[in-house]
């Protein structure tokens, strides 16, 4: 069982290695290798080989014990899925997070004046990057400057995150209620934040 658990604990490493190999291969043969779709591909494709290895090292030994086998199978599915999701977030942070971007700019320059940040981080480029990623993930379509919803996965995720923000005492994520009526989201630091 310990080997079974160690393999599951290695899920992020397995995804890192497979993403490195598959991403390089796709670029080598000239196929689109945008980061997020490749991560999702590696994650989904990983269910079968990881499941096979887990079967060999542990699950096959539980074949006569239906409750143990069912429990271990559910456990393996949950841990692989949740760690894969966590890996996807780490990758997303490396790709899109503003905090990581700011730290990287400071890392390379040694010191950065706050007045320099707007010139480094343009709204247009930030939006273009994100809209390209959302389009590549099949979540939006962009047609003649009009942006429309195509898939509901991230929209629903945004609604869940917004609800969770409310539970934690933050103001919910907000955007314009209707097109053409922008209203800034209200996410101020609370005055009772403590050190």
């Amino acid at each position: 069982m310990v080997l079974f658990l160690l393999i599951l604990a290695s899920t992020p490493l397995i995804l890192l290695v497979s993403q490195g190999i598959i991403g390089r291969f796709l670029r080598l043969v000239g196929l689109p290798a945008q980061g997020q779709p490749v991560v999702i591909l590696c994650f989904l494709a990983g269910y079968f080989p990881v499941g096979l290895v887990l079967w060999k090292v542990y699950l096959s030994g539980l074949a006569g014990e239906s409750v143990s086998l069912a429990t271990a199978s559910v456990y393996a599915f949950v841990v692989y899925t949740v760690l894969g999701y966590a890996y996807f977030h780490v990758f997303n942070m490396s790709e899109t997070a503003r905090r990581v971007r700011i730290m990287r700019e400071i890392y390379h320059s040694g010191r950065l004046a706050e007045s320099e940040l707007p010139s480094i981080y343009s709204i247009d480029a930030m939006l273009d990057n994100r809209m390209a990623r959302l389009a590549a993930l099949g979540q939006i379509s962009v047609d003649g400057g009009r942006v429309r919803l195509k898939g509901r996965l991230l929209y629903n995720a945004a609604r869940v995150i917004s609800a969770l923000a409310t539970v934690l005492g933050y103001s919910p994520l907000s955007g314009p209620e209707a097109p053409g009526t922008p209203s800034p989201p209200s996410r101020p630091h609370r005055s009772d934040d403590v050190a």
Binding site: G23, L83, A165
Partner: protein, 167 residues
Amino acid sequence: MNPAVLIYGLVAFIFSIVVHVAVWRLRRPRNRPLALAVVFFAVLPAPLGLLASFGPFHIDPAGWFAVVLLHTALAAAYILSYPAVEAMSPTLVVALMVGRSAEGVDREDIVRFFEECAVLEPRINDLLDSRFIARTGGGLTLTPAGRAVTAFFIAFRRVLGLPTGGG
């Protein structure tokens, strides 16, 4: 595998979530990454000790390892999702804006929206609060912790053969 592993792993995670919500609603910590690590990992022995002492199921040492792994996986997923909760994620805001309108939204409206709200300032404040950066001599510099985190992300992208990232 003992089914209690799944139950205890979930109970430990729910315990951490309850503590997290209570602390955040009572008095939100300034260094939130550190506070999350404390709530989800440093406090973990408490629910595990209670379950080991008073829980209805017996679990062997390998089973406890499985409980900790399940809790760690759930906690990692939650902690990594958390920044989107406290910060306005531009990607999610775009999804919300577009999703709320059946006719879609003009790209220029989205640009105008982001121009009107502070995109970078709250993130800089978060980095200062988390002690990943510091204001020194009129500029921003990395602290040792911030340098380590940045080096991790740069190395991570290099291992994947990718440019160092957009943001």
